[in-house]
Symmetry: C2
DNA sequence: CAGAAACCTGACCGATCGGACAGTACGCTG
DNA sequence: CAGCGTACTGTCCGATCGGTCAGGTTTCTG
C-alpha cells in the first residue's frame, strides 16, 4: 500500500464514494480531503469515471473469482468451495461492495458498473438453474444479498469515520457469516434434492 | 390514489429517486417525466427536499408501527406479532424502502432520512438487548437486512421500468419471506434461551 | 360577470459541477 | 547547464443544478 499522492486520492475517493455516494461526491471534495487541488486529482485520474473505475475494477475482478468458485461447487459441499471464499471476499472488499451494492443501479451505464452488475446477475442465474421453488430462490437471495448487505451495513451503522472498521472480532464475524450463509444454502440444496 | 398532477409528480419522483438515486435525479427530470415544467413541480412541492419528504414520510410512519410491533413481540411467538407485519411492510413499501435502504447514509442530514435511520437503529438496538453472541447478532441482521435488501433488489434485478412489479405470485413470496425470516429469528431466540 | 384562488409557464439567477488548459517548480539524465 | 518528464497549481469554460419571480391561463365562487 504505497503512500504516493495517487494512492491517497484513491483511498479518499473510495471512502467518499462509499459513504456519501458517487453522485454527491465532487472531484473538489476528494481533492480537499486529500490535501490537493482539483487539478491534481484530474492529473492522476483523467476523469471522475476513471477514478471510480480504478477503485472498483480490482474488486470486480475478485468477484469474477467468486462466481467461478460457485460454479465449481455445483455438487460439492458448498462451504469450503464457495461460502468461505464468498464471505472472505465480502469482508475484504467492504467499501467497494458498498459502492456497487448500494449504487449499482443508479450508476448503470458506466462500463465498470455494468460489468459488476452482469457478474451479480450471472451469479443469480447460476443459482436459479434447477431451482424452481420460490422459497428456495428467496432463501438463496437472502443468503447472498443478506450477507453482502450485512457486511456493507456494518460500515454505515457502526460509528464510522474511522479509516477501517474496528473489527477485532473479525474471526468470529467471519465464522458466523459462513455458518449462516451455509445454512441457508444447504436448506435450499436439500429441498431441491428432495424435490 | 388520485390522478391530480401533484400525485403524478409524487409517483414519478418516487420511481426516479428509487432507481436513479436522489442526487442524480434533478427536478427537471421529474418534470419532464411527469409532462410538466420544472416550475410546476416546484409549485406543488416547494423544494426537492420537500418532495422527498412527501414521498417517504408515510413509509417512515409505517416503520414506526413495525418497530412497535417488534417491541410487543418480545416474548411471544414472533411470527404473527412481528414477522408478518414486517414482511407486509417491506412488500407494501418497496420503492420507499429502496430509497432509504440504499441511500440512507448518503442522504443523512435531511430530517426525514435521519428519522428513518433513527428508527432502524432503534430496531437494531431493541434486538441487541440481551443478545450477546456475535453469530446471533449477525443472524438477526441478516434476517432484517437481508429481507429488506431482497425485496429492494427484486425491484432492480427484475426487468423494471414497469410501474409496479409483476408480483403475481406475491402470496408465495410473502409466505417464503415470513418463513425464512422467522427461521433466522427463532434460531436466534432459542440460542439465547439456551445460553 | 367580477374577482380570487389554483395551476402552470418561461426567463432568469447564483452556485457548483466536470473538465480543459497554460504555466510553474522540481528532479533526473545527457 | 540544457532539456525533459513528473507533479502539481490557478484560471477559465460550458453545462446543469435548485430555486425565484413575474406573469398568464383556467377554474371555482360570490
Amino acid at each position: 500500500m504505497p503512500n504516493t499522492s495517487a494512492a491517497d486520492v484513491l483511498r479518499v475517493a473510495r471512502m467518499l464514494f462509499a459513504i456519501d455516494g458517487y453522485a454527491a461526491t465532487s472531484i473538489g471534495h476528494i481533492a480537499e480531503a486529500a490535501g490537493l487541488s482539483k487539478s491534481a486529482v484530474l492529473y492522476h485520474y483523467s476523469s471522475k469515471e476513471a477514478l471510480l473505475e480504478a477503485i472498483i475494477t480490482p474488486a470486480v475482478d475478485g468477484l469474477e473469482g467468486v462466481v467461478a468458485s460457485f460454479a465449481r461447487s455445483a455438487d460439492a459441499d458448498p462451504r469450503h468451495e464457495f461460502v468461505e471464499p464468498f464471505v472472505d471476499y465480502l469482508l475484504a472488499n467492504r467499501l467497494e461492495m458498498s459502492i456497487f451494492v448500494n449504487q449499482g443501479q443508479s450508476l448503470r451505464g458506466l462500463p465498470v458498473i455494468d460489468r459488476a452488475n452482469g457478474l451479480v446477475q450471472r451469479l443469480g442465474d447460476a443459482v436459479s438453474l434447477g431451482v424452481v421453488r420460490i422459497d428456495d430462490r428467496i432463501r438463496f437471495g437472502m443468503a447472498l444479498g443478506g450477507a453482502a448487505y450485512t457486511v456493507v451495513a456494518a460500515i454505515n451503522w457502526t460509528d464510522n469515520a474511522l479509516p477501517s472498521a474496528e473489527l477485532e472480532d473479525a474471526d468470529e464475524v467471519r465464522a458466523a457469516l459462513v455458518e449462516i450463509v451455509t445454512g441457508l444454502l444447504v436448506a435450499s440444496r436439500t429441498s431441491v434434492a428432495a424435490h
